[in-house]
Symmetry: none
Subunit: 531 residues, 2 copies
Amino acid sequence: MTRERVYLFDTTLRDGAQTTGVDFSLDDKRAIATLLDRLGIDYVEGGYPGANPLDTTFFSEKRTKNAKFTAFGMTKRAGRSVSNDTGVSALLEAQADAICFVAKSWDYHVRVALETTLDENLAGIRDSVEAACARGREVIVDCEHFFDGYKANPDYALSCAKTAYEAGARWVVLCDTNGGTLPHEVTQIVETVTAVVPGAHLGIHAHDDCGCAVANSLAAVEAGARHVQGTLNGLGERCGNANLITLIGALKLKDAYASRFDLGVADEALGGLTHVSRQVDEILNRQPNRHAPFVGASAFATKAGIHASAVLKDPRTYEHVEPEVVGNLRKVLVSDQGGQSNILAELKRCGFSLEKGDPRIGRVLDEVKRKEAEGFAFEGADASFYVLVKRMLGEVPAFFDVERFSVNVERRYNAMGELVTASEAIVKVRVGDEVLISAAEGNGPVNALDVALRKDLGKYQHLIQDLELVDYKVRIYQGGSDAVTRVLIEFADASGDRWTTIGVSANIIDASFQALTDSMIYKLLKSGAML
Amino acid sequence: MTRERVYLFDTTLRDGAQTTGVDFSLDDKRAIATLLDRLGIDYVEGGYPGANPLDTTFFSEKRTKNAKFTAFGMTKRAGRSVSNDTGVSALLEAQADAICFVAKSWDYHVRVALETTLDENLAGIRDSVEAACARGREVIVDCEHFFDGYKANPDYALSCAKTAYEAGARWVVLCDTNGGTLPHEVTQIVETVTAVVPGAHLGIHAHDDCGCAVANSLAAVEAGARHVQGTLNGLGERCGNANLITLIGALKLKDAYASRFDLGVADEALGGLTHVSRQVDEILNRQPNRHAPFVGASAFATKAGIHASAVLKDPRTYEHVEPEVVGNLRKVLVSDQGGQSNILAELKRCGFSLEKGDPRIGRVLDEVKRKEAEGFAFEGADASFYVLVKRMLGEVPAFFDVERFSVNVERRYNAMGELVTASEAIVKVRVGDEVLISAAEGNGPVNALDVALRKDLGKYQHLIQDLELVDYKVRIYQGGSDAVTRVLIEFADASGDRWTTIGVSANIIDASFQALTDSMIYKLLKSGAML
């Protein structure tokens, strides 16, 4: 059976720019366009030239090599010709391979938002599409609110789609702008539309307001559409757009689709899917979603003891696809629910080459269980687990020894009568034969301690210079009869690596200190530091 | 047209416990069971009695009033009778209204994981269901890996479902354990199963590994199933389970479902949906997902631009449902009716009798928005909200004023050569004309500060004597450009009342101090203390 081609259209740089808290710079846009181009996306929508200076600049040159670089904008306004419409002119001037026009297709919107007639709106669609085709651009028409429009006035919605297609649009895209349409409705409506616009020219643009954006996109493909719009990691206004990363995983890896459809994304590029997803979060300084399908850090993580042993027997028992094909990792969580098989898998993942039956595995398990009884939880603290195992194997040199620290926080009225809180820390550390004392102020006791600890580590100082604390979490945990404080600290370094360490103590400062020093030791081990 | 009842089954406390980083305490379990019960969930699966001491304790009494409290466990093992199976015995001993058995329905798993025969497995299902029915329990059977099993050996998968149903199970639940099944496959397979088990006895249990858990659940309902399993906020192993919060929103609010189906969730409880979702995250110290359908902080947020002005003209233009009905807020209109009515509801809930139209409501709303911009989150800190409102109404007397505090933590080797960490605090407080200085040691800086603060409060001392700190949580929050620390502290008093307060500052000790003093003021107000 010949497989049909499904085309992917990314709108991260346009619709994704509507995400709360996301603000692209020109560099961000360039970097993301490159990621998309390499991944094998067919259309990269770069923005809305003419709407703001950044997007106009971005379209001063073509930003992709293989993907069709696409400019977004509105169809011409009522009451003026295409050549007199500055919006359409900006689109035609843009250095783009394709133009994506957004067109109203809900009669209510035409009247209320555009304040024009239904016929004028159709004329605007036709004239704009024809003008762009005449300039040699490939044309895509996003029919805004198509599904709501179809429910309100099916004839009018269909005539918008038909007008766009007959005027020469390569793709007519049905947009669920409010994200309120349900999968079974998408199936019915897309099937109906194929009578007017052939499926080979139909696209879908879904939002996640009902948690169904991916399913709605797949339903449209099942119903005949061959063009899917979405964003990396599902960025977008409100609940976000359809997540292209998830869609690529599903369309490439699930037999039901892979046997029928082809994508522009090659198998090799698929192996970089996890990397692309995390890279985007990195660029935007967002916390990656651990639970994201296919690419999340926990997407292939197993906690339960029974599941874990089955996964080790045969991964297919609890995995629907292999993590490696998307560049992700299988992870069997170290936790009080796990046994030997969990630990063995975890040791392998962390790069330890212990074989089944090695008595050291049992000792590591005992130590992990002992620590967990105290309140430690290594499933979220890989780096502390790594340091613990290295220490048990006698592979952690005595880099430094903190002989004493003291932290003080004081809140008082200053001379100006203002209430101020000051924090400072003093740390005395021995590095080889050197004894070093450092003091520091910070915006809190942990920050002061962190700064003082890393102020002078003698000969190791250059190796920990680029450490940056990126997250800090605390939770009280009932360990046995007494409450203990569990601190998780995430660090990053200049290479972009991130790792988490844990500390547990009745004393929050003590627990933080353990996590801080674990992190420094991890970084020194990773840097290959020697005594 | 009569609407059919769809039953909701929550497994947050069982399958949700498999989430990376989630570790329930007994108190967490109790609190979440209460939230679910009030929301109107039909079945609350509390855990796996017999599998670990916590779950066994949790099933020592019934934890729900209206919902059917449900115990989870395996069907009897091969080669022994039900009465000799300790697992089944633990289930029958549990104080539960219903028992949910997990049963293998994929022939491959029966052979590889259970290492038994296909017939033995069917006998195990039948005997276990019959034994539980004989003990007066309602029985649910989760057919593990049903969809993969069906694809591999449809006859065997169907005979597992049929056996469970004929043995007396109220519900036979088709589980997509690996989360790899696609919506169109769910539709086809569930339709086939209804020939063997009537839809009125069929359920669905979906995982989100393809980003389709919600859509798969809805597809099963469309195909005839009337029982849906899921978790709050989609907690669960790997990519999580079907998100019950999203499903409740869709089934209650989307016409296509609301016109055909009824839930146990009343309209009034629906208004608390956002609160329930955030409350769970607070309990588990997780960052709420801003983009979550229906309940996310950004779910109804519109960035300035064309959409925003349309939303201002008529919210229906870009909103598929009204945020107020799920207790959420529209984010573009700062002082809109939605915000006002939300605050009004919250004020009523806290016992304030302000009437609609009172100008003080707008002032409270502004103050709450200002504080939230700083990083405060009153969702989980009722007592701080109460104190804030009382203060704005001029109803908080100046009970005491902390003029200065100082906290010190020191870690050093003592005379015995042991590493010790000591914490102490000094507090100077003015109570009326009295100036009182107290010092205290503690097992950490917050404990020392708490003890010193409450050591001598002069004439109010007897009123705060019975306070006990029962929980303490910290999270870093990106407030604007700088990170702030958010502290939540829960106190209890001798009457059994519990309340939570919040503090926010760059400095963790400062934030803790705010939460501690809010809690003392709350207790004094509650005790009716006067100046």
